[in-house]
């Protein structure tokens, strides 16, 4: 946590235009330092903390969760070898479209992020960026032993060992690599979890933002993007 510098918002008139951040101890909002950005670019990006919205309960939320579970849009971002198994899953033999699962081209349009295997530090940077750009509620499915404990790259100098230290994960699918049947089982499990209202990764991320950010910054040394990429 010590890796992040907090700066208190100055009482400048401009600041009122920016979205309110998380309230600090004295009631003033804390803003992100965005230290990785050059001075002239800082104004282009948001410096507010993510705010936790939810978890919500009730009949309406149950209905919404049911609807969400029937329309999972996955981000077309394949990391690692496991992404290969998404192709047979899409095509006619396993046909994931019958479960309402379909790929989308941008993080803004998708609700499920499939981490397809090992994540190198370089990829992790893009993963964090894409994950933060996705709209809540968002879900993460991690495939393969590499995402769980490093898999066969457990002693590699360049791949992280447990993805859950950097972004919250809802469902893990074990295997190296998991077959499309296992992926389908994983997606069914994700749907069940969503319907039970247990997939609150975005809330968890916002609440433990400092912890995740410190973990991310510990491995990503050339942090040249905003601290929170919304």
């Amino acid at each position: 946590m010590s890796d992040i510098k907090f700066t208190r918002a100055l009482a400048d008139p401009d600041h009122a235009l920016k979205p309110a951040g998380r309230p600090g101890p004295l009631g003033k909002p804390l803003v992100l330092a965005n230290d990785g950005l050059p001075e002239e670019e800082k104004a282009w990006f948001c410096d507010a903390y993510p705010t936790a919205s939810g978890p919500y309960k009730g009949i309406l939320e149950n209905f919404l969760n049911w609807a969400r579970s029937k329309s999972l849009w996955i981000l077309g971002f394949g990391t690692g070898c496991g992404a290969i198994e998404l192709r047979p899953l899409m095509t006619s033999r396993f046909d994931m479209y019958r479960f309402g699962i379909q790929p989308r081209p941008t993080p803004r349009q998708s609700s499920v992020f499939v981490i397809g295997g090992y994540a190198s530090v370089k990829t992790l940077k893009r993963i964090v960026r894409s994950y933060e750009q996705m709209m809540g509620p968002k879900f993460v499915v991690a495939l393969g032993s590499c995402t769980i404990n490093g898999g066969m790259y457990w002693d590699s100098y360049n791949t992280i060992n447990a993805i859950e230290h950097y972004i919250p994960v809802d469902v893990y699918i074990a295997g190296c690599m998991p077959r499309p049947e296992a992926l389908l089982a994983g997606f069914k499990e994700l749907q069940r979890k969503i319907r039970r209202g247990e997939c609150e990764g975005a809330v968890k991320y916002a609440e433990n933002f400092e912890w995740y950010k410190a973990n991310q910054k510990k491995v990503i040394h050339d942090w040249n993007m905003p601290d929170y990429n919304y």
Partner: protein, 176 residues
């Protein structure tokens, strides 16, 4: 049986031509002669194609062995030109003027082994690693396991079994 062409043997101090396969030989040469030798092989002897450039870390001898793999399409023969550069402050002359793609290999060698190629385009930019702060990871003194344990936290509870004894226990418990 291939032999070293006479014009090369008389101009450069080259080691013996080692034949690895019918279509692959290697040739040892002094590092300072490499650019000239490569140019001659390319222009006069038909080795027009650069397959790759790579390095091996011979830590015991304190050198990196650089291998420039050339290919002659006309008689389907590959020739590896090998030279040695010292491990300390390893510097090698850049050959990017001979083949355009050479600078990509040189950039990679700079990042993964720390061999410098002064004058090679973009040689100081990061290639596959971003923000690397340790010693170059392909050097043999770099301990990848220790680095990984120090840098990337793991989920507790990982255990490993020796495959041979594990399968023996499973399949032939009476033999134990």
């Amino acid at each position: 049986m291939r032999t070293i062409p006479a014009d090369i043997a008389e101009r450069f101090e080259v080691g013996p031509l080692v034949s690895k396969r019918a279509d692959l030989s290697t040739l040892d040469v002094d590092a300072k002669d490499v650019p000239e030798l490569l140019a001659r092989l390319r222009d006069r002897h038909g080795y027009r194609h650069l397959s790759f450039v790579t390095a091996t870390d011979q830590i015991e001898e304190g050198v990196f062995v650089l291998t420039y793999m050339l290919h002659n399409h006309a008689d389907n023969h590959s020739l590896g030109v090998k030279c040695r550069v010292g491990r300390e402050n390893a510097v090698m002359e850049s050959c990017h003027l001979l083949w355009e793609q050479m600078w990509t290999y040189q950039r990679e060698l700079k990042e993964l082994f720390g061999i410098d190629f002064p004058g090679s385009p973009r040689v100081d930019e990061s290639f596959v690693l971003e923000g690397w702060i340790d010693i170059p990871p392909m050097r043999r003194e770099f301990d990848t396991r220790e680095y990984s344990e120090r840098t990337f936290p793991t989920r507790p509870g990982r255990s490993t079994k020796d495959p041979a004894t594990h399968m023996k226990e499973k399949l032939y418990p009476e033999a134990l």
